[in-house]
Amino acid sequence: MAALIEARNLKKYFDSPKGMVHAVDDVSFKIEEGRTMGVVGESGCGKSTLGRTMIHLLESTGGNILFEGKDVTNAGGRDLKNLREKMQIIFQDPFSSLNPRMTIKGTIQEPLILSKRFKTKGELEDETDRIMNLVGIEERLRDSYPHELDGGRRQRVGIGRALALMPKFVVCDEPVSALDVSIQAQILNLLMDLQDQYGLTYMFVTHDLSVVRHISDDICVMYLGQLVETSPSKELFKNQLHPYSKALLSAIPSTDIHHKKERIILKGEITSPINPKPGCRFATRCPYVCDRCNSPQKLEEVLPDHYVSCCRVREINNL
């Protein structure tokens, strides 16, 4: 299948008083239609920035974004408006991402009104009801305000708003991390049902690896703005090749009390993403660090469909 959306050497830098923050640095990947790409990494690794840059909420500093085969990196005006109908985002915090002075109905209707797809008020109301139904918000809440809703329902409103115009590509930016586990499962199931129903393509940004394993087909592991490893989800969870992915996966506390896994405890602190040195950014915490790590690292296909950016990857994994 063709890639629905593709990033080629995408860069996003932010200017700060201390220098350039390399939030996303030279990231390339593709997401095929109907699939879910999980993007994992720790806070500050640039995963949210990547998501936002992909859908033009942030302007990229360099590189290209291709959507349905077309270069949309510099889309503006009407093109951008049309593009926005096809690319949407679900935000992390359902408490701050909804307008507190807008009713639930108003929030979901806003994109519908802006799209001018609906001629009469009746059509508009019907469509609103359909969406509310779709994401499981009870009708009696139509005229409520966000503060009257709990986190799970608010997140449903956020999902409803994002899906109102039936986009093709949805960035889910930590959509469940602000929710309690019991509610989290409801929302994850909803997102998966909607994907089945409408063939949606997701980019699922999260730091929660159990969630990402559950929902994604493919996974990108990011570290300080760079892609360090990408592969199909099953493969990555079975066989991590990059030293950072190994440490990350071993660090997840497991609910299995009988098989304590061996844990890789990282030493050292995360390097600053401000004007970073050209070499591997994980080098300061990496147990396998050597001199070659000071030169730039390239993402290589080490195993079929399994890309890693580490100069010692073959040595470490005996490949």
Binding site: D180, V181, S182, I183, A185, S210, A247
Partner: protein, 331 residues
């Protein structure tokens, strides 16, 4: 390991604790009759969702609930045979930091932004020990080293530290006077997993070193599996299941506990669909008359809403607050 309930009184004993908040004339029933006990060197995990009352329990033990709006309406908390709810504020002040201390959830707000971290730790030491400023500062530096922060950073301010390091400073502060009881309120929730692994390893190491009793408050069942000996599952201000970590994880008995495990995507297993708990936690101003989980419970019958449900021992040392227990065990 079995709890030894011999004639010796436990180090910490909480009996029938009731905490209420008053807000706009409404009474919020945050903690409704919680009892548990803890021995030295052991760790009890309090697990539950937001608003279940976990933090209120810990704050009651420290006696730092904001009063008003919160009020301890009933119950007893014995720490080393002393009822901390009956002693004077001055006496309590002596216990805090020395005998019992607390690690707060958010390291970003738990530190004083305009005070050097070394001084902040030294302050706790000077509060409880007759030492000079210089001695206290030296001990603070030592504490920083214990938590893996170089002592030359003692003169820096909190904003110069990363999140994980700030949390370690908070832990250093909590451990500065080697407390006998440590209350850890979601100490790793704000941290990344690799940093969380570092912090948990450190807590485990320090706990063993000082033989500290610990209450670990968390909603992360993975963290529970990692650090605790006993688990109390809290729902709507009540302990609904209690037992050794092995029995809770291997044989969760209460439908809510089972639901929690079903909601959790498991790294080791392939599951197509999660089985969430439907509905929402009950309104704490208006709790159901019977079992508080009954409105969400898949097994609920009329009987469940008749009267408050009592804790029952379903196997040795494993208690559950469900009137259907015998039927459930079969499934």
């Amino acid at each position: 390991m079995e709890q030894n309930n011999t004639n010796q009184t436990p180090f910490l004993k909480v009996e029938d604790l009731v905490v209420e908040y008053t807000s706009e004339g409404q009474v919020i029933h945050a903690v409704n009759g919680v009892s548990f006990q803890l021995e030295k060197g052991r760790t009890l995990a309090l697990v539950g969702e937001t608003g279940a009352g976990k933090t209120s329990i810990a704050k009651s033990i420290m006696r730092i609930l904001p009063d008003p709006p919160a009020k301890i309406k009933g119950g007893k908390i014995y720490l080393d045979e002393e009822d901390v709810l009956c002693i004077s504020e001055a006496e309590m002040q002596k216990l805090r930091g020395q005998k019992v201390s607390m690690i707060f959830q958010d390291p970003m707000t738990a530190l004083n932004p305009v005070k050097r971290v070394g001084d902040q730790i030294a302050e706790v030491i000077r509060q409880h020990n007759r030492v000079t400023k210089a001695e206290a500062f030296d001990r603070a530096c030592e504490m920083l080293k214990t938590v893996g922060i170089s002592e030359d950073r003692a003169n820096e301010y909190p904003h110069q530290f990363s999140g994980g390091m700030k949390q370690r400073v908070v832990i250093a502060m909590a451990l500065a006077c080697s407390p006998e009881l440590l209350l850890a309120d979601e100490p790793t929730t704000a941290l990344d997993v690799t940093i969380q692994a570092q912090v948990l390893e450190m807590i485990n190491r320090l706990k063993a070193e000082f033989n500290t009793a610990m209450i670990m408050i968390t909603h992360d069942l993975g963290v529970v599996a990692e650090v605790s000996d006993e688990v109390a599952v809290i729902y709507a201000g009540q302990v609904i299941e209690y037992g050794a970590v092995e029995s809770i994880f291997d044989r969760p008995s209460h439908p809510y506990t089972q639901g929690l495990f079903g909601s959790l995507p498991d790294l080791g297993k392939d599951v197509d669909r999660l089985s969430p708990i439907y509905g929402l936690p009950p309104d704490p101003t208006n709790l159901p008359k019977g079992c508080s989980f009954q409105p969400r419970c898949p097994y609920a019958t009329k009987e469940c809403n008749m009267q408050p449900v009592k804790m029952k021992e379903i196997e040795k040392g494993h208690y559950s607050r469900c009137c259907k227990n015998n039927d459930l065990e079969v499934s």
